[in-house]
Amino acid sequence: MWQDALALLIVAIAAGFLLRRYAPDGLLRFGPPRIGHGPDAPATLAAGACPDCALAGSCAKTRPPA
């Protein structure tokens, strides 16, 4: 049934979203980092994490530079 397949696809998408959000930075990312989220995040971004962003400490822009 296509309805069952669609329900399972929605589950897979939700799981991917949560893993991307809560897994440590870089673990589940492929290709170039999104603007403002990679280790080469431009210096114009805020020094701290954005309020209410659950990415918080796993976001590269919140890390002190090496």
């Binding site: 929605i10 939700a14 949560l18 210096a43 994490a49 918080a56 400490g57």
Partner: protein, 633 residues
């Protein structure tokens, strides 16, 4: 205009830093210049990190504007002031030296505010003085000769009213003029910079006095309304009573005003749920939509009106200037618990969300004072707890009036908020006596004049809260509910199973696994299931309960409200125990991550998680046992 737009146009933006003492209107000017929507309020310490935005001047210059935390001096004493000092001196990593500095000052308070400008002047950077809030200064009869001020200071002076966008064009013209004739990089002056000594600061104060004698034609009267209001609101007896009355009114309104919009949202969600249940063929998709997504997400979205009413009051108080008075009134109580007076603002921010609250502790100078404040910030009742409290109060506390019209539900809500505050003060006192001794500093905070709250600010604040709430529902909560539905649906129950299907599922397995641990505090396996996804964010537990009861085959959970289902299924003792749990439980990953970042250590985040979890369990255990003993089982 964005950085990307500028990049496509091949423009490298010049950098202008907005610098000034706290509460001088830098962020309002920043929002006016860049079209940004950064939070503003009538109290010091709202901005604790650097923010940036972009604009194009009338002269065609692309400009990046930096909004920096407020500071009275380059002699930084707290992490947020250190950010300002380092950016201005070009010492901040990943940050270029600003091409020019706009020093924003409150025109009604030049005596205190001009010192920073005098400290900036020897750096040799292009500098403009923006005399902000000129309308208020003029209303008080203050007259400033800006030409004389400019002559005495040797820099351009512009008058602005950032809130009304007045004087902005002149400021941009001045910026254009500075950028046309760029100064040198000022490297020598910056390299030679040394923190001003106490003697140098005294000399700056004398110089401020001299400059003002030349430039201020009439000083104007101090704010009369502010003085009269403060006579009552800062009175040792009337002041705390007024504060209590205000908070009490706020919680009464949260219940009484929200009823109609909540009923409307609830009706719409139930209607959609029933329509889908009637029209979709039996399939996994139908179960996912009806029992998983709508039962879960719909159970949380209904609390939007109450969250907005609470923030309406908070925004009014912030914009009016009352919040610093509340900090002043609370100082004696807070210092008795070993807290720095400046902790009030971060703790206040934590009523919205602990993450900005933890970040706002950057305004606290002493590391130990700051650490204590960070560790107790999650005990303030954040807006994510509101859905849990409202759900359980609506289910178990009768909607009756006591003591001449005071609503019992509002009173219980007030008590839960008070329990969080008392818990925070008690934990702070214990930490001060044990792990974190020393480092206490007195409160020194400027009391701003009262102002009429700005309607646009309040509406913008409410809109931002709505967006944050709906974004969380549409992302984290929705995703967690989909996963919870999956875990609650698979594997299928065995043939001839006597219990509902969820009982045999992965989620049921987890719930039954946790049940022995949670049974002493009165939690059943359904609550145990809801607490697991609720670790990500507190309000997720409400959505999870909706999904769990819908999948338990409870018709009431599908057709009616979740509150009615819980009222039937739980005892009063269990409900009270869960409320006590939520006063303390550290169920928020974002807060733990923020604590790790701000303390630069997982150790303190782990310590906070452990002590809050232990407190939650203990509070729930005592509440449950006492309730049982009183016959609430």
């Amino acid at each position: 205009m964005t950085a990307a737009t500028l990049a496509t146009n091949g423009l490298k933006p010049a950098c202008i830093a907005l610098v000034g003492p706290p509460n001088s209107g830098k962020t309002t000017l920043f929002n006016t210049l860049t079209g940004g929507r950064q939070k503003t309020a009538n109290y010091p310490g709202v901005t604790v990190e650097r923010k940036s935005g972009f604009l194009k001047t009338p002269g065609g210059h692309a400009v990046e504007v930096l909004d920096l935390p407020g500071s009275y001096s380059l002699r930084a004493r707290s992490p947020d002031e250190a950010i300002t000092r380092d950016v201005v001196l070009g010492r901040q990593q990943r940050e270029t030296l600003p091409d020019a500095i706009v020093c924003v000052t409150d025109a009604t308070n030049l005596n205190q505010h001009l010192r920073l400008l005098l400290e900036l002047r020897p750096l040799g950077r292009p500098l403009i003085l923006a005399l902000n809030m000129m309308d208020i200064a003029q209303r008080r009869g203050c007259r400033i000769d800006t030409e004389a001020l400019s002559r005495e200071l040797g820099i351009p002076v512009v008058t602005t009213v950032a809130m009304r966008k007045s004087g902005v064009r002149e400021l941009l013209d001045r910026i254009d003029a500075l950028l046309k004739h760029p100064a040198g990089d000022g490297a020598t002056a910056l390299d030679d910079w040394q923190e001003p000594s106490p003697d140098a600061i005294r000399a700056y104060h004398h110089e401020v006095g001299r400059v003002l004698r030349q430039a201020v034609v009439e000083e104007g009267a101090p704010a009369r309304v502010t003085r009269q209001l403060d006579r009552v609101l800062l009175h040792p007896i009337a002041g705390p009573l007024a504060l209590l009355a205000l908070l009490f009114l706020m919680f009464q309104a949260v219940f009484s005003w929200a009823e109609a919009p909540m009923d409307w949202i609830d009706g719409s969600v139930s209607g959609l749920q029933q329509w889908l249940a009637a029209h979709l063929p039996e399939s996994l998709l139908k179960s996912l939509l009806v029992d998983g997504i709508i039962a879960g997400v719909g159970g949380v979205v209904v609390f939007l009106p109450q969250i907005l009413i609470l923030f309406f009051f908070i925004l009014l108080l912030e914009d009016s200037g009352y919040m610093t008075r509340a900090a002043f009134l609370m100082d004696r109580l807070m210092s008795a618990a070993g807290l720095n007076g400046r902790a009030f603002i971060p703790l206040l921010s934590s009523f919205a969300c602990a993450v900005p609250g933890v970040m706002a502790t950057r305004a606290i100078a002493h590391p130990l004072d700051r650490l204590v404040t960070i560790l107790i910030a999650p005990l303030m009742t954040c807006s994510a707890r509101l859905p849990v409290y409202v759900l359980l109060i609506a289910a178990f506390v009768p909607n009756t009036a006591i003591w001449g019209g005071v609503g019992l539900q509002g009173l219980v809500m007030f008590g839960l908020y008070a329990a969080g505050i008392v818990g925070a003060l008690a934990v702070a006192a214990v930490l001060r006596l044990t792990l974190l001794k020393g480092g206490r500093q007195p409160l020194l905070m400027e009391l701003p004049s009262y102002k009429w709250p700005n309607a646009a600010n309040v509406l913008l604040g409410l809109w931002e809260r709505t967006k944050i709430f709906l974004r969380r529902i549409g992302t984290i909560i929705l995703s967690l509910m989909v996963i919870l539905w999956f875990l609650s649906t698979f594997p299928a129950p065995p043939a001839g199973a006597a219990e509902p299907a969820i009982y045999y599922s992965f989620a049921g397995l987890i719930g039954r696994g946790l049940e022995p641990l949670l049974a002493p505090i009165g939690f059943n396996w359904q609550i145990a299931i809801a607490l697991v996804p609720g670790l990500a964010a507190r309000e997720v537990a409400v959505a999870a309960l909706g999904t769990v009861y819908a999948l338990s085959g409870d018709e009431g959970a599908v057709a009616g409200s979740l509150a009615a289902t819980l009222a039937q299924d739980w005892t009063l003792a269990t409900a009270l125990s869960l409320l006590a749990w939520y006063v303390f439980a550290p169920q928020c990953l974002a807060t733990l991550a923020a604590v790790r970042r701000e303390t630069n250590s997982w150790r303190w985040a782990a310590f906070m998680f452990a002590y809050l979890m232990a407190l939650a369990y203990l509070a729930a255990l005592i509440t449950y046992r006492v309730a049982l003993a009183l016959g609430a089982g």
